[in-house]
């Protein structure tokens, strides 16, 4: 058994190769368009991994994570564009605001069983869209805010090429994945797993479901807010439609579902597959046909639910188990 590629040295070797492949990507990709896509993979992969902490691990489907993303994104552009402050200060601010919103939504809904959490999170989205549109002094209204061009550098998060930004995004993705893996294997992870599999039994096992879900939601909101902040810095622009877009939530859910919600690496895998595919599709489909790409996402969601609810990760784990005799 020891010689099988399941043992620790093999695993570490695999992680190192994956890390090297990730960080060397700009070298062999060369075109800045490809690197830009990779930045999106990292940012949305990180955000989807964040969504998965509550949506996948605890099976509490949030349809409002766009809000945390948008809060983070607005924080950066407002700090840089309106207030002239460092984007690095915007990140903690975004986290704090997102966590406050998360607590307010989780507090009543996690005391209830049933559909209330999903309902409440979805209802949150139009509210923030309204606020961002109306509060013109802060957000620039529906026109949005653009960040002025600043001297490039780490302090301004503006660069001449997308490559430096890619490294920042990649570091975020790696950190978030480490967090997700750590949670999976932590006390909280086991509790969330119990809640996901059998809420009734987890109460009998002494699990405080409310607290476990709250912890996961807070972490989740914080992670997504950071990804949003970097997204704002990357675009150097934000308006209500971009920040509080229903598509963002959809993407976070979809990446996680495609990759496999039970796995810490599932959402990132989903992003890696779907984002380039989506970019390719939207380059090919123009005008009204652009909607067809999104339509395909909807079809994909339904097919996944009906036929492969565990995503690619689920398929992979079956193959893995057959090959190695071990569970993933």
């Amino acid at each position: 058994m020891r010689s099988l590629p399941t043992s620790r040295p093999w695993r570490i070797a695999f992680y190192l190769v994956a890390l090297a492949a990730l960080f060397l990507a700009p070298v062999y990709l060369q075109s800045s368009y490809s690197v830009r896509i990779l930045v999106l993979v990292c940012l949305f992969g990180a955000a989807s991994t964040g969504w998965n902490l509550i949506g996948g691990y605890a099976n509490q489907i949030s349809l409002g994570h766009t809000v945390f993303f948008g809060i983070g994104a607005y924080a950066t552009v407002i700090f840089q564009g309106t207030l002239g402050l460092s984007p690095w200060l915007a990140i903690p601010t975004g986290i704090v605001l997102a966590v406050i919103v998360a607590l307010l939504i989780g507090w009543p809904t996690f005391q209830l069983s049933g559909h209330y959490f999903a309902l409440a999170t979805l209802a949150l989205l139009p509210v923030f869209h309204i606020i961002a549109t109306y509060w013109e002094d802060l957000t620039g209204g529906s026109v949005g805010i653009s960040v002025p061009i600043l001297p490039s550098g780490l302090d301004t998060l503006q660069f001449d090429t997308p490559t430096p930004f890619f490294y920042i995004a990649a570091v975020l993705l790696v950190l978030v994945m480490i967090l997700a893996r750590w949670v999976r294997q932590s006390v909280l992870g086991l509790q969330l797993d119990a809640i996901r599999l059998n809420p009734q039994a987890s109460t009998l096992a002494g699990v405080n479901q409310f607290r476990a879900k709250m912890k996961a939601l807070v972490m989740s909101a914080a992670v997504v807010a950071v990804a949003g902040s970097l997204y704002g810095a990357f675009l150097q622009f934000m308006d209500p439609d971009t920040a509080f877009s229903w598509n963002t939530t959809l993407n976070l859910v979809l990446f996680a579902m495609v990759g496999g919600v039970r796995f810490w690496w599932g959402p990132a895998l989903g992003a890696l597959i779907l984002i380039p595919f989506g970019e390719f599709a939207s380059a090919q489909l123009t005008g009204n046909l652009a909607a067809l790409g999104q339509l395909a996402y909807g079809v994909l969601l339904i097919l996944l639910v009906l036929f492969q609810p565990r995503g690619i990760g689920g398929l992979f784990s079956i193959v893995w188990q057959k090959a190695t005799g071990r569970k993933l």
């Binding site: 949506g55 099976n59 509490q60 489907i61 349809l63 307010l104 507090w107 009543p108 809904t109 005391q111 209830l112 069983s113 049933g114 559909h115 209330y116 999903a118 309902l119 409440a120 979805l122 209802a123 949150l124 989205l125 139009p126 509210v127 309204i130 606020i131 549109t133 109306y134 229903w246 959809l250 859910v253 579902m257 005008g287 009204n288 046909l289 652009a290 909607a291 067809l292 999104q294 339509l295 996402y297 909807g298 079809v299 994909l300 969601l301 339904i302 996944l304 639910v305 009906l306 609810p309």
Partner: protein
């Protein structure tokens, strides 16, 4: 005196718009009450109804108000088809799967509409769009009055169906105890198909009815999601009568808030109502709702 008049006008407007809110939400609560599924695509079905009426109006010159019953029938067929293909397989699946599947359905509908009609704001022209009625010194736009009249008629028809017909009673029986209904020879799958069809029929009909006073575009469903959810949560998930009352309440609150707030912010108080309802439910104040056993009582 002037202020009093403003308030009265506002409340009256709120009741008109509120009855429409009840109409667009009642199908959502009907589906939940019978099947225990939240249809997250409900807003998109509203949009489908609006586009159906838009198409009938621009292609054949038919008035949305006249065509509405036909749109409702088409909506019923669409809903029944969707139930059979997508909902039926997940009726016993975990809640998360049901959420994702209906969300996926909504995405298909919205983007399907975008592919056909383009991502534009569209509207129809009707001869009565500028007309108003006056009563007791209050003024009402004809389009709102007609829409509200439809809502009242549909509420009455729905109540008659559920309380007076054999089929409606069998549907309520299935909602209250699926297993026992089955033992009596009632086919639950058939009931679910009809319930989902009816829920979709009501909301597509509503889409047709509201078209004369509003704009339609493929992603408008998202705009109505907040109102629909507030209405069904406030009324108690699965309670028809609750949804109707809550629809009126939400309409009045929203309308009154425009006296104080700019009209762009009229959904903010709606959200506050939604949030307060959630807090009250979780605090056990609306404990009736908490049991989620509010199963299609008398409407």
């Amino acid at each position: 005196m002037d202020i009093l008049n403003h308030v009265a006008q506002s409340v009256a407007n709120g009741l008109l718009i509120g009855s429409v809110y009840a109409l667009i939400s009642v199908g959502l609560t009907l589906i939940f009450g019978v099947m225990n599924i939240v249809n997250f695509a409900h807003g998109e079905f509203l949009m489908v109804g609006m586009f159906g009426a838009y198409f009938a109006s621009t292609a054949f010159g038919l008035d949305p108000l006249w065509i509405a019953p036909l749109i409702g029938i088409a909506g019923f067929l669409l809903g029944a088809l969707v139930e059979r293909t997508i909902i039926e397989p997940i009726i016993k699946a975990p809640q998360s799967a049901q959420i994702i599947a209906t969300v996926g359905l909504g995405i298909i509908l919205a983007n399907g509409a975008a592919a056909i009609f383009g991502n534009n704001f569209l509207s129809v022209k009707t001869p009565y769009q500028g007309e108003t009625f006056s009563l007791f010194g209050l003024h009402f736009a004809a389009t709102f009055v007609y829409a509200a009249a439809y809502a009242v008629v549909m509420a009455v028809l729905l109540a008659l169906f559920l309380n007076k017909t054999r089929f409606g009673k069998a549907m309520r029986a299935t909602a209250q105890n699926r297993g026992a209904a089955q033992l009596l020879g009632i086919d639950p799958k058939r009931m679910y198909m009809v319930a989902f069809g009816l829920g979709v029929a009501l909301v597509t009909l509503a889409g047709s009815v509201i078209l004369p006073y509003t704009l339609v575009y493929p992603f408008i469903g998202q705009q109505y999601v907040l109102i629909m959810f507030t209405v069904v949560v406030l009324g108690g998930l699965g309670s028809i009568r609750g949804a109707i009352i809550a629809g009126l309440v939400v309409g009045v609150i929203q309308s009154l808030s425009t006296l104080l707030l700019p009209s762009e912010l009229q959904n903010l108080p709606v959200f506050i109502v939604f949030f307060i309802a959630l807090v009250l439910i979780s605090g056990g104040v609306l404990s009736r709702v908490r049991n989620a056993s509010v199963k299609l009582k008398r409407s």
